[in-house]
Structures are given as structure tokens and as C-alpha cells.
Symmetry: C2
Subunit: 227 residues, 2 copies
DNA sequence: CCGGAAATTGACGGCGTGTCATGGGTCGGT
DNA sequence: ACCGACCCATGACACGCCGTCAATTTCCGG
């Protein structure tokens, strides 16, 4: 809230001693260098030495901050996940209809991806010919949160009682794959991508097999497999 | 066509000289070893040395067959893609309704994944905590084929005129992500997964924005940014 | 049976990895 | 202002992997 330094004996909240300051600085130095090197060489070809060389630090210092290049990658990826996850959750909490729930999820995601293409290109451009997607624990936690939100929406009667796990998986799959295509086109059209995905799911959810709904009036299509 | 050996001086079709036989054998030796080592150590941790050590061959020999561990990985992955791609294409060619088109795509894919979990687990179990998916050129070609099939289906009036690229991306995303969840559950239920995905797209496609329809009545939302 | 082509072998130089003893810089107490 | 304790950056080191290549073995055709 207040940006005014209190000038008490406890300025810890922002950056306590010089010790901790350089610690934060160095960490950021490494992360920034990594982002650049990953983008330049690709994740697979990058070595810890490449990262540290793009930094004024010595090789040993790297290991005071990260165990490996993979951990650096995770940190970068988690940064993104931590930035976007609360936004998505908040938006979904505000939703009072299926349409709002779905549309805000996709819109927020695609807009973020479009804005943050620095990070995102870094992340996607991994090897030469092959595309790669790595899901870090933080990202997976985001998926779980989506599933929980879906479960909540179902119990509030907002969604029909579909399989939340499968629906989550589908949304995730469409989000990432469509985002990829969106980034390939110029100019980026996050709104168009969101409209596409939203329409798909809005139409689709209605047709989805209802999981644990025993007292339904005669269903005509699907529903052949009631587990 | 004919499997009968002609007994001429040219039995090349099956396995000509000892030279070529061992060449095929060695290649297979390396691929098998790689499958095992990848599954055991994970892709990231595996070294070319690990692979060659799981083989009676010498280190130098490896490079007569593959440039790197990545190329081995591609070969394994491409093996799968080459096995499944024609099947998918054939099934889709037989489809005369949207429902058939979509359902056969998912059913074939999920059944294959479920059967072939040896390869698939190998492929997915890449690092320790992180999940990865690598799309090799052969796999990407499969995606392109799907897009072309969608375009064909649209021009035959089977599909409404949606954006084929985006629809392809969505199908791919759902297929892989739902497959992942399917493999996590015991027992595997490829039919259930296919029903879910099919229902989603059957309902969704109808609701999708129609791409190249210029004579639309007043558009209210979107379309603000016409390049 | 022999000469040449093709493929295998394993040792080698170069490099990345992760560790550790060393030393310089920082902090809290006096 | 000074000092001792502590923390952490440093870069050399031992080890292992990488990709290559000359020497050698294996195979083929004549």
C-alpha cells in the first residue's frame, strides 16, 4: 500500500542488509541471463556455463542458487505460473454463468501469453526442430486449481455434472495448443482465440456425458457408458 | 504384395547380405537399449554413453546410426507416429458425418495410446518432476494431415466453415491431455475418453464461429482489429 | 583366395559438471 | 572505530561425457 519508507530500524520488508540485497540481485542476474541464453541457444543446447558466462559471476556461484539448468527453467516457468494463476482464479470466482467462467479463463490466459511473449518464446523455443512443453509443479498446481474451480462450479449448479478431471484436461490442452497457433500468426489475436475456444467449450459442455447424475430425464444421445 | 521369395539372386527385399542385416540389427539394438534407459533414467538424465553401454557395441558405433540422443528419441517417437498416422487418416477418410470423423479420430488415438503404453510411458517419463512433450517432425506432419483432412471435410460440407488450424490445434490438445489423464487411471478406458472428447467437439463445433463467412448480419463483439 | 570397401573399435582432445578449500566482504557486538 | 565470526563468491580440480578418427576387423565381389 504505502511506498513511503518508514525509516524505522526495520526496513526488512523491502531489502534488509546488503547481504540479502546482493543475494536477490544475483538470483535475478542468473534468471535474466538464463532467459536470454535459452532464447538464443534453446533449452537443450544451453549449458550452465553458458548461463554463468552471460553474468559477471563465477561458475561456483551458480550452484549457490540453483541445482541445475532445469531448476532455473522451472523458476522461470513458475514465475509465469505464479503471475497468472491468481488472476485466473479471481476471474473464475467472479463468474456467475458457464459462459463467464469459460470465457474469462481463456481470455485472461491468451492475453497474458500474448503480452508476455518474451517469457513464452523463451519457454517454447527449446530445441531446433522439436517443440517441447514442460509442466513444472507450479504449473501443475494451476491445473489442479482449475479442476477444483470446476468442481466448485458444478456443485453450485453452474456446470452440468461432467467429469471435472477430463474437462480440466481438455481446457488445458486447448489453451496451450491454441495459444501456440495464436503466437504464430501476426498480428496476435487473443480475443479471437478466446472466442474460438469459448465457443467450442460452451457448445461442447452441454453435450458432454453427465457423470454422476442419476435422476435425469431420458437422455437421447451419448451417455452410453455409465461407469 | 507377394511375400514369396523369388529365389533369384536378389533377395534384397527382405535382408540382402550379412552387412545390411547387422546394420538393421544394430540400429534396433540401440533403439531398444534407448527405450529401456530412457524409461529408467528419464530422457534428460540419459547420456549417449548410457545407451551404448546397454549394448554390446562401442561408443563410436553409435554415431554411425544417430547424431545424438535426441535423434534416437525422435526415431522412437516417429516410429509411433508412423504407425498411427495412416490408421487415423484412413478412418477419417471413411467418415461421412461429423460424428464419425471426430469419434474415429479419438477412438483410434486413445486405443493406440492405451495399447502402446510401453512406448508412451517411455516418452512421457522424461524428467523427474516435470512432464514434457516433444513433437518431432513426423508428429507435426500428423497434425498437418489432420488439418488437411479437416479442410477436406469442410469443403465437402461435412464441417461448418470453421478455422481449420484452430480446430486441429484443439483436437490435438484435447487428445494428448486427455490421453495423459486416461493413462493415470486404472483400468484404462479409451472408449470413455473417446466418448468424452467426441461429445465435447460434437457439441462445440456447431457453436464455433464460422470463419470465412463475409455476409454476416451486424457483428456486435470482437472484430475490432481487422488488420 | 585376395584386394578393396565398409563398418567397428577404443583412445583422445576438448569441454561441461559439481565440489571444495581459499579468501574477501559483511555483520553484530563492544 | 575496531574486531572476530560468519557467509558466500571464487576458480581450480577431478571426473565423465562428447564427437572424432586412425587403426583394425569384417564382409563382399571377383
Amino acid at each position: 500500500m504505502d511506498a513511503t519508507p518508514m525509516r524505522t530500524e526495520l526496513p526488512r520488508a523491502v531489502a534488509s542488509g546488503k547481504r540479502e540485497q546482493t543475494k536477490i540481485l544475483n538470483r535475478q542476474l542468473i534468471l535474466d541471463a538464463a532467459r536470454q541464453v535459452f532464447a538464443e541457444l534453446g533449452y537443450g543446447a544451453t549449458t550452465v556455463r553458458d548461463i554463468i558466462r552471460a553474468t559477471p559471476l563465477a561458475s561456483g556461484t551458480f550452484y549457490n542458487y540453483f541445482k541445475s539448468k532445469e531448476e532455473v527453467y522451472q523458476a522461470i516457468r513458475d514465475e509465469v505460473a505464479l503471475a497468472i494463476r491468481p488472476r485466473l482464479h479471481d476471474e473464475r470466482m467472479k463468474a456467475s454463468t458457464v459462459e463467464q467462467f469459460i470465457t474469462c479463463t481463456f481470455r485472461t490466459f491468451f492475453e497474458y501469453v500474448s503480452d508476455d511473449r518474451v517469457n513464452f518464446r523463451t519457454i517454447r523455443h527449446a530445441a531446433d526442430t522439436t517443440r517441447v512443453r514442460m509442466d513444472t509443479p507450479e504449473v501443475i498446481a494451476g491445473f489442479e486449481e482449475l479442476r477444483e474451480d470446476i468442481e466448485g462450479a458444478i456443485s453450485k449448479g453452474l456446470f452440468p455434472p461432467v467429469d471435472p478431471d477430463m474437462l480440466m484436461a481438455s481446457i488445458v490442452g486447448v489453451a496451450f495448443e491454441v495459444a501456440e497457433r495464436m503466437l504464430r500468426r501476426e498480428p496476435h489475436d487473443p480475443a479471437g482465440a478466446a472466442d474460438f475456444a469459448t465457443a467450442l467449450f460452451l457448445g461442447g459442455v452441454r453435450a458432454l456425458p453427465h457423470a454422476q447424475a442419476p435422476e435425469l430425464p431420458a437422455q437421447d444421445s451419448v451417455t452410453s457408458n455409465a461407469a
